[in-house]
Each structure stands twice: as structure tokens, then as C-alpha cells.
């Protein structure tokens, strides 16, 4: 089975939500849509207080190259444009829309026909207008990614979902198999590559089977590779290594080795943007955690508050200690549940107070140089050495250990028996030496 060097098998807890079919979340009465949901320039609002908007109306844009448009996710009135809680930045400018309860679609949203006749440029324009971003995590604008600066020979589709707990990509692959394949077909056409490979972890056998059958049935020339279930198998560079045995050096991007990596979720939203002319105003979010009464996979409008999602999952069994946007390995802990879902929200994970105490107990003991972090580091770093640099306050010594190679997967911190906050230290070094 294909894999990369290093990494660690992590108990996934995916059973909590993997059998839960995607449910459509009822319309929220109010949405908060941050103007910064992607990598790149922040959008300027194109609506003002009091404006009427429809579902799918563009409300924010930017003339910068690397940016992505923002759309209203419900129809209603713009209540205000203010600083509001943001799941990544803490605070950011956001458009608040009060729903009129009708969910009237914007006039631009009509099913497209004659998709085959669309040229590469037209497709890229559609993607740009629809505000599609990579849904795997970094939320990088899709129109930029699909138009690489260097020739590319392979398109990799990331169906790995190696983050523990999360199941939204898995459910998408099961329930929207054909749409995803169509989306991949579009990507293939835009980039102009022959070879397309989908990588999926071995623990998602059903998805593998389904995609393989669909490929045969609909005559798609797509390889589906079964990968070892190991974290961080879904990290871009590790995925390329596992499937194509090419290594992307530190500071380089996948297209430097002739590859573009995209997520299955992105392929699905691309399909919707092109076939249904639907901008990215909703996405699938896994709401999970052992202290949640009913973990689920929900199709949610962007801008819905976390609190409403949690309530829809029938609330908590016991007191929550941590609310995390994303998975437990790379997610961001939130200080409030009054924070909106954004394009990059793949999941909401709730850890109970008991679990949090368990995980924080006995932190920051002395490093015993056991070498676990060195052996699992997927990019061949010496995490313990960087951690010691921080402990000794000798950040000037850290540069020799290549801190900028770090992909921040967090595996070193996960395996550390002394419970040291290795990754936090590496982030500190990166921030200070930059």
C-alpha cells in the first residue's frame, strides 16, 4: 500500500459520524459572513446597510489577484457591516444578513447546459465568480490554483481526510459520487492533464469501491489509489510523495513538481458552480465529538453560527471544554460558539471538559530525547531540538534546524510522551525569525 515516510496512525473516532447521511440544516434567521474567508486579499463589501440581497448575491469582492468573492447565503436584508467574531482571525469585518425566510435565489443561478462548449477561460471565470476556494483547509482561491504558472502533468484529488473525527469528505464521496467525478472532469479540462488520481485511505473502503464502480460505469479514466491510514496522509506534500513518489522541497509548491492537488469537496463545489451556476454559499460540515448528543454531517449555509449547528445536533451530553473548528490535529480552538461557519470550516469538534483535562494533564515535562518526534516527522525535521531552543530561550540557534520546513501537522506534539508543546514552539520560532 502506498504511503510516505514518518507519520503516525491516530485513532480516528470517525465512527461517531461516518454513518450519518448528510442532512440539510434549516435556514438560519441570521448569518454572519466574514469578508475574509480565504488565503489572500480581504474582500471589500459591495453591499451596504439596509440593502436587499438574495441567496447567491455577491456581497464582497476584491480586485487583487489572489482573493475570492463572497456571496450572501440567504435572502434578506443587510443588517450591518461590523467587526465580528471570526473562527480563524479572532475578529474580522463581516456582513450580517437578517433572513426574510424565503431563500429566494439570485437571478444568476440557473442550470447551465452545453457545458462541453465552455472554454478553459470561461470555466475559470465561472469559478472566480462563484468564489470557489480549496475546501481542504487553506481555502486557497481555486481559479488561481487551477491556472498554474508551470506545466503540470498530474491532477491529484485528495479524498484522504486523515484528520481524526472528520467525515464530511467521506459522506460527499458516498452521496455525491457522480457529481464529484464530473467536477474532477472539469478540473482536468481546465488544467489540461491526462492523468488524474484520487487518493483515499484504506479505512474508507466503501468510498473506494463506489468511486471505482462509478468510474467504470461512466467511463472516466481516473485511477483510485488506496493509501495507508496514517496521519498526515492528506497533507499535500505527503500525498504527492505517497502516490507519485515525488517530493516537493521546502518552500516550493506542488506545481513545481508538476502536480496540482485538490480536495473532493472542492471538486463537488466546482461541479455545482459550473453545472448549477451556484456560488459557494453552503458546504458540508461534520459536527462531532463524544460529548455531543447526535454527531452529524450537515449541509450548512456559510455564516451560520456554530451554536445553531450544535443545537441542531441536540446539544451536549456533558459540559464542553473546547470547541474546535476543523479536526483535532490542525483545527483552531474557539473562545465562543457565537462564531460563523466559513468556507474553510470542514468540521466542528467539541471536546468535553474531561477530555480537555486529560489531554492537557502533565504538560511540558522535560524532553527525554526519546526520538519519537524525529521518527514520525513527515518532513524529516528534528522537532525536539527546536522545542529545546524555545525552552532555553535560544531562538537564534533555531535556524539551523530548518523551522520553515514544518507543515504544522502536529504529529510531533501528538506523540510526545513528555507532552511538550513542540508545535507551538516551532510556530513561535517561525513568527520571530520571519
Amino acid at each position: 500500500m502506498e504511503t510516505f515516510k514518518g507519520g503516525q496512525h491516530i485513532d480516528g473516532f470517525k465512527y461517531l459520524s461516518r454513518e450519518m447521511a448528510i442532512k440539510i440544516m434549516p435556514l438560519p434567521s441570521q448569518v454572519i459572513i466574514p469578508l475574509s474567508q480565504h488565503t489572500g486579499a480581504v474582500c471589500e463589501p459591495v453591499v451596504k446597510k439596509g440593502d436587499m440581497v438574495k441567496t447567491g448575491t455577491m456581497i464582497g469582492t476584491s480586485d487583487k489577484l489572489i482573493s475570492s468573492r463572497i456571496h450572501a447565503s440567504i435572502s434578506g436584508v443587510v443588517k450591518d457591516i461590523v467587526e465580528y467574531n471570526h473562527p480563524v482571525l479572532g475578529q474580522s469585518k463581516a456582513v450580517i444578513i437578517d433572513s426574510d425566510g424565503k431563500d429566494t435565489l439570485d437571478s444568476s443561478i440557473v442550470k447551465r447546459t452545453k457545458i462541453e462548449e465552455l472554454s478553459k477561460e470561461q470555466l475559470l471565470e465561472i469559478i472566480k465568480n462563484a468564489g470557489i476556494v480549496g475546501l481542504g483547509g487553506a481555502a486557497f482561491p481555486a481559479q488561481v490554483k487551477l491556472n498554474p504558472l508551470k506545466p503540470v502533468d498530474t491532477l491529484l484529488i485528495n479524498g484522504v481526510e486523515c484528520e481524526p473525527y472528520l467525515t464530511c469528505d467521506y459522506r460527499l464521496m458516498l452521496e455525491h459520487t457522480h457529481s464529484i467525478l464530473k467536477g474532477i472532469g472539469l478540473m482536468q479540462k481546465i488544467i489540461g492533464v491526462e492523468r488524474v488520481v484520487i487518493g483515499i485511505e484504506e479505512d474508507k473502503q466503501e468510498a473506494i469501491k463506489l468511486l471505482r464502480n462509478k468510474c467504470v460505469e461512466k467511463k472516466y479514466d481516473i485511477e483510485i489509489v488506496c493509501l495507508k491510514a496514517k496521519y498526515p496522509q492528506g497533507a499535500e506534500k505527503q500525498l504527492i510523495k505517497a502516490i507519485l513518489d515525488r517530493e516537493v522541497p521546502s518552500g516550493k509548491l506542488p506545481f513545481d513538481v508538476g502536480v496540482i492537488v485538490s480536495n473532493v469537496g472542492t471538486a463537488f463545489s466546482l461541479f455545482e458552480a459550473v453545472y448549477n451556476a451556484k456560488p459557494l454559499y453552503e458546504r458540508v460540515v461534520t459536527v462531532t465529538g463524544k460529548c455531543l448528543k447526535q454527531p452529524s454531517n450537515l449541509k450548512v449555509r456559510i455564516g451560520t453560527r456554530f451554536k445553531e449547528l450544535i443545537d441542531f445536533c441536540q446539544g451536549f451530553k456533558e459540559a464542553p471544554g473546547k470547541i474546535i473548528m476543523g479536526g483535532p490535529m490542525m483545527g483552531i480552538s474557539q473562545y465562543t460558539d457565537d462564531v460563523p461557519v466559513i468556507k474553510g470550516t470542514s468540521g466542528i469538534l467539541i471536546l468535553s471538559q474531561k477530555e480537555v483535562d486529560e489531554y492537557t494533564q502533565g504538560a511540558d515535562q522535560p524532553c527525554i530525547r526519546c526520538g519519537r518526534c524525529v521518527n514520525i516527522c513527515p518532513v524529516g525535521m528534528l522537532p525536539y531540538a527546536l522545542s529545546l531552543c524555545v525552552e532555553m530561550d535560544r531562538l537564534d540557534k533555531a535556524a539551523q534546524y530548518n523551522p520553515f520546513d514544518c507543515i504544522e501537522c502536529g504529529t510531533c506534539t501528538y506523540v510526545c510522551p513528555a507532552k511538550r508543546q513542540i508545535l507551538s514552539g516551532i510556530r513561535l520560532i517561525k513568527a520571530v525569525t520571519r
Binding site: I10, K237, E247, G321, D337, Q365, I368, Y414, V415
Partner: protein, 328 residues
């Protein structure tokens, strides 16, 4: 902005938010646990006095740790992480069965103070603390440290270790007259019916514990194997009267080789961090051990070889680094 939020109850840390179940304490206590079978064999073979030596050593190690770390340096209580207990136990295993109790106590005091505390505590020591204790005792009380009771006859006879027999032949050992020399069969060596240090008694018991450690991936099998194999090959080539005729099985089974290779050379703190580095470490230990055994002044060289290679650890770590992702 809504005023009602749960802010003060929610914990904010940076990712990752989950941790593996392994802890330093768990690893240390597991190693301690895995050493117990060997101690039991020793108690069975040499009598209850062995138990007192082990307990004295452990209690003194813990007391020293508490005194220096918790009382004098006001550091958080480190007794429960098991490292002091392990040091005490390993030191006891490196003493002859007839060692006086004060020697065990003194040894573990020195092991903790000069082996660990002076370097800055757990994680910063260069040398294996238990071996520092042993070498200190070897240098200070060479006679007491080399009086080996024969198994099952504690006070009766002082027997040489198999290696001493091998090295000194019949004339070299002043305490014995030739007729009392005990010859050990390989199975005696393996099962533990021989003179020697407390922990060295039974290869079988040691391997039993070590296999658990390897199963749990607490230690890598590569380091001990490279150590033992090097000793085997080296003594096979140079250990006999002519080349390629040495009694390598005797060399592997006797002395502290198994104890050293599986429990002391594999010490995380004082060994290299990478697997490749650990193999180099093991080979180095093997060569030094064989040289001391075959041509050196002592019959046994495991402890010295590990200490010498401990010194080389920073150097190995400097040169043996994992391949940087993306480098050819």
C-alpha cells in the same frame, strides 16, 4: 455583538488538541516492570539479600531525587515519573549479589547527583546515571565490586564470573584454587545459574522483559541487535586462539551484555535520537565492549562501552540526521 457567550469556560490552545496516551512516566514504569523478572531470578538464585540490595538502592535513589530536585531546587515533584526508581533499580542490577547495603545506597546517591542532577535533571544528563554510579563504585571499591557469590551458595564460595574464568584461566584468579572453578554450560548461562551482577543473572528473564518493550515500541530492536551482533562477530573473529574461532555464544550470553544492550544502551536521554544513529551507537558499544573483554584490564566492558558511546551521542546526533523532505 452578543454578550452571552461561553468564553470563560472554553480552553484555547493551539493545535493539536489531542495527545497520544504515552507518557514519560508510563515508559519509565514499563521498563522498571520489565526488569522485575530478572530480579526475581536473582533473588531465587542468590537469596533474599538481593532483595534488600535492590530496595536500598531504589529508596536511596528516590530520596536523593527528592532532596536535590524537589527540596533544594524546588522543581515540581518528579518522583512519580519513575526515572529515579529506574536508575536505582538499574544500579542495583549492576552490583554483585554480595554487595553491602551501604554500597548500594552510596552508589544510587552518586548516580542521581553526579549522573543526573548536576547536568540539569532528567533529559539533560550526558551519561547513563546508573552506570555513573556503577563506575564510581568500581573505581572506589574494586574488591567489593568483584566478589561474586556463586548461585545457591551465597556465603560459601566466591565464584568468578564466566568472563573472568575465560579471561584469567586457572592461574589469574587469586581467590580460587583451580579445583573450585565452576564451569557453566550455555543453558546455565541462558537460564541464570551463574555468578555475576544481580541483573545479569538470567538472559531469559531479561529477554522476556525486553520483548515486551519492543512489542510496545518503547525500545527499538535495532540498537540492541547491532550491539549484541557486533560483540558476537568481533569475539568470534578475535576471541579464539586463532581467527574465527572465538566462543561467541559465551560472550553474548555472559556478563552484562544483554542487560546493557537492551536496558541501558537504549536509554533515551543518553543515546542518539535517530534509528540510524542508534545502530551506529550499538556497533560502537559492541566494538568497545569486545576490545575491553579481549584485551583490556577488566573482564567486563559493557558499562564502560556504553559510557564512552554516551560521550559520542552529541556527535552522532550532529552527523546522523533524518533526510530532509524534498532533498535528493
Amino acid at each position: 455583538m452578543s454578550e452571552k457567550n461561553t468564553s470563560v469556560d472554553l480552553a484555547i490552545t493551539s493545535s493539536p488538541h489531542i495527545r497520544a496516551k504515552e507518557t514519560t512516566a508510563k515508559i519509565m514504569w514499563s521498563v522498571t516492570l520489565c526488569l522485575i523478572p530478572s530480579g526475581l531470578v536473582s533473588i531465587y538464585a542468590f537469596g533474599l539479600s538481593v532483595l534488600w540490595i535492590i530496595l536500598t538502592s531504589i529508596v536511596c535513589a528516590m530520596a536523593s531525587e527528592w532532596l536535590f530536585n524537589c527540596y533544594l531546587q524546588k522543581k515540581p515533584n518528579s518522583l512519580m515519573d519513575g526515572s529515579a526508581v529506574l536508575t536505582g533499580l538499574l544500579l542495583a542490577y549492576n552490583l554483585p549479589a554480595g554487595a553491602p547495603l551501604w554500597m548500594a545506597g552510596l552508589g544510587s546517591f552518586v548516580a542521581i547527583l553526579f549522573g543526573k542532577v548536576v547536568f540539569g535533571g532528567l533529559g539533560f544528563n550526558i551519561f547513563n546515571p546508573a552506570l555513573i554510579g556503577r563506575v564510581f563504585l568500581m573505581a572506589s571499591f574494586p574488591v567489593l565490586m568483584t566478589r561474586w557469590p556463586a548461585p545457591f551458595k551465597v556465603d560459601a564460595i566466591t565464584a568468578p564470573t564466566p568472563l573472568a574464568v575465560f579471561k584469567d584461566g586457572f592461574s589469574g584468579s587469586p581467590i580460587l584454587n583451580p579445583s573450585e572453578i565452576i564451569h557453566y554450560s550455555y543453558s546455565d548461562l541462558f537460564l541464570g545459574l551463574r555468578g555475576g551482577c544481580i541483573g545479569e543473572a538470567s538472559v531469559l528473564a531479561l529477554l522476556l522483559g525486553a520483548s515486551y518493550l519492543m512489542f510496545k515500541k518503547y525500545i527499538s530492536w535495532k540498537l540492541p541487535l547491532s550491539f549484541v551482533a557486533t560483540v558476537g562477530i568481533f569475539t568470534w573473529i578475535f576471541g579464539g586462539s586463532s581467527f574465527f574461532s572465538g566462543d561467541y555464544i559465551l560472550h553474548i550470553l555472559s556478563g552484562g551484555l544483554i542487560l546493557g544492550a537492551f536496558y541501558m544502551a537504549t536509554d533515551y536521554v543518553t543515546g542518539p535520537v535517530t534509528i540510524q544513529g542508534q545502530i551506529i551507537f550499538g556497533i560502537g558499544c559492541g566494538i568497545i565492549t569486545s576490545i575491553i573483554r579481549l584485551w583490556g584490564g577488566y573482564p567486563e566492558g559493557v558499562s564502560y562501552s556504553i559510557l564512552l558511546m554516551n560521550m559520542g551521542t552529541p556527535l552522532i546526533d550532529r552527523f546522523v540526521k533524518p533526510k530532509r523532505f524534498g532533498d535528493k
